[in-house]
């Protein structure tokens, strides 16, 4: 009896560590890709339950270039990091790369990066300096780079953090928020839609690397270097072959890779 207690305690240790397997020498087959499926145009589930979008096309191209078998696993965003850590999938597509997050997951090279801008009503204008934005309500996505920037560099403005950008837009339409601050490519999608017609880009483009990370990459469990390097090399191959450009043009009228 006492022995079985000791064994169950020993079993609890890996449970607490939540590390499913030691670093592998070989690549998993198939490589399972965790994807949210509710983030158009990057990734979204169609009404048949299939994932589509820029992320899916890029990932398929990477897998083809590296000759690995890939499989998508759709996962709610709130559970996306635990799902990786427990081994439900091996790669998360579309994580913003920052130093702080590197403590929890490893990142591949970036696969897209655009600047950051404000969006606001066409009939309103501000002076885009800390003093000019005094008391102005700025909506950001919670935890995003823009949040950290506003907190540090625009302390006189009022910041509101939303769980999704969609909610920030809704509050801008309701007049609770003056400006929304986010990635250019995401805002572009909003401005191009029907409801974006009264809004426009405001102020300069922000790209201070101190706040805005180094782009968006894929998240990998810590220590799985072979997988990380394979995906990074896949991204390079897809860039070089011109495949990237083709997929880019399918979704966006400008280059989203950055320099």
């Amino acid at each position: 009896m006492a022995r079985s207690w000791i064994i169950s305690l020993a079993l609890m240790v890996p449970l607490l560590g939540l590390t499913p397997a030691a670093a592998q020498e070989s690549l998993p087959d198939p490589v399972r890709i965790g994807i949210e499926g509710a983030y158009p145009p990057f990734n979204f589930v169609d009404t048949n339950g299939e994932v589509q979008g820029f992320d899916v096309d890029i990932m398929n191209a990477i897998c083809a270039a590296e000759k690995i078998r890939c499989e998508f696993v759709i996962q709610d965003w709130d559970g996306i990091i635990p799902g990786l850590q427990v081994g439900k999938y091996d790669v998360i597509i579309g994580l913003g790369i920052t130093e702080e997050r590197k403590k929890a997951v490893d990142f591949t090279d970036k696969y897209w990066a655009t600047g950051n801008r404000f969006v606001g009503r066409k009939d309103k204008e501000w002076d885009y300096t800390p003093e000019g934005l005094d008391g102005v309500v700025i909506g950001v996505q919670g935890g995003a780079w823009q949040e950290a920037y506003v907190k540090a560099e625009l302390p006189q403005s009022v910041m509101r953090s939303y769980q999704t950008l969609e909610q920030a837009y809704l509050d801008m339409e309701a007049g609770r928020v003056d400006l929304v601050f986010s990635d250019t490519v995401l805002l572009f999608d909003f401005l191009n839609s029907d409801r974006g017609k009264d809004y426009e880009f405001k102020g300069p483009e922000y790209d201070d690397p101190k706040y805005f990370g180094t782009g968006v990459g894929m998240g990998i469990r810590k220590g799985e270097n072979l997988l990380r390097d394979t995906i990074s090399s896949g991204i390079r191959k897809v860039r070089e072959s011109g495949e990237y450009k083709k997929i880019n043009e399918k979704y966006f009228p400008f280059d989203i890779y950055g320099e």
Binding site: P14, V45, T47, E166
Partner: protein, 238 residues
């Protein structure tokens, strides 16, 4: 526009939502029923003469009720699969990923949460049966089981039903949290459809209506049960 979004044909989210709704009801019913087991056990334990049983019941109900539901679900889902994988790794040396059925984990975690709330309701209901009745039954020499099934249970059930109805409604809505485990119940389906179509209100309203339909149906069942368990009692109004 809205109607095509909700249709069952191509381009419509009807079938996705329907499957989500069925999943919700399946998880909710199983969880609630499963939760009555730890609930009744904890209620009995909390009235036990043994201090350690009372303490155990108190720890269970306080801990599970006191921490946010989402955390319980996180710990269960990812905890159980890590544990099973660890057992398999130690015994068979297989280090790969083992999928633990998301439905079973959902029922286990939501059921345990639901049970912690049922326990309080059941405990209060048992306490509402006057002690004298049990003493009288004992004096008459009735067996323990007869006292429970013929005297305690029918009277406690009447008092417990409104409270259990509350717990059931909470459980029904708690199932929306298990979407983090990857189970596509109604809230997850609605979220996905809302994200893709940029029409949050349409889909949240539909989800709300589906929940309302479920509670409407279950409220009728509970009302009938209340009438049934209250038979032989007349209501006096002050």
């Amino acid at each position: 526009m809205t109607l095509t979004l909700l249709s069952f044909g191509p381009g419509g989210w009807g079938s996705t939502l329907l499957i989500g709704a069925l999943m919700t009801i399946a998880v909710a019913v199983t969880s609630f029923a499963f939760g009555l087991v730890p609930g009744a056990l904890a209620a009995m334990a909390s009235r036990s003469p043994h201090a350690w049983l009372r303490a155990l019941a108190l720890v269970y109900t306080t801990l599970v009720r006191g921490i946010p539901e989402l955390l319980v679900i996180y710990l269960f889902f990812f905890g159980t699969s890590s544990m099973i994988m660890a057992i398999v790794r130690l015994s068979f040396g297989y280090g790969g990923y083992i999928e633990v059925n998301a439905f079973a984990i959902g029922v286990l975690s939501v059921g345990l949460i639901s049970g912690a709330y049922s326990a309080e309701v059941i405990r209060g209901a048992i306490a509402s049966v006057p002690k004298g009745q049990v003493e009288a039954a004992m004096a008459l020499g009735l067996k323990r089981w007869v006292i429970v099934s013929r005297i305690l249970f029918p009277q406690a059930l009447r008092v417990a039903l409104p409270g259990l109805n509350n717990v059931w409604q909470t459980t029904l809505k708690d199932t929306s949290l298990i979407s983090v485990t990857g189970l596509a119940e109604i809230m997850r389906s609605a979220n996905m459809a809302a994200g893709v179509t940029h029409e949050p209100f349409t889909f949240y309203l539909v989800a709300a209506l589906i929940y309302l339909l479920f509670t409407w149906g279950s409220a009728r069942l509970f009302a009938r049960a209340e009438i049934f368990s209250g038979r032989g009692l007349k209501e006096a109004r002050p």
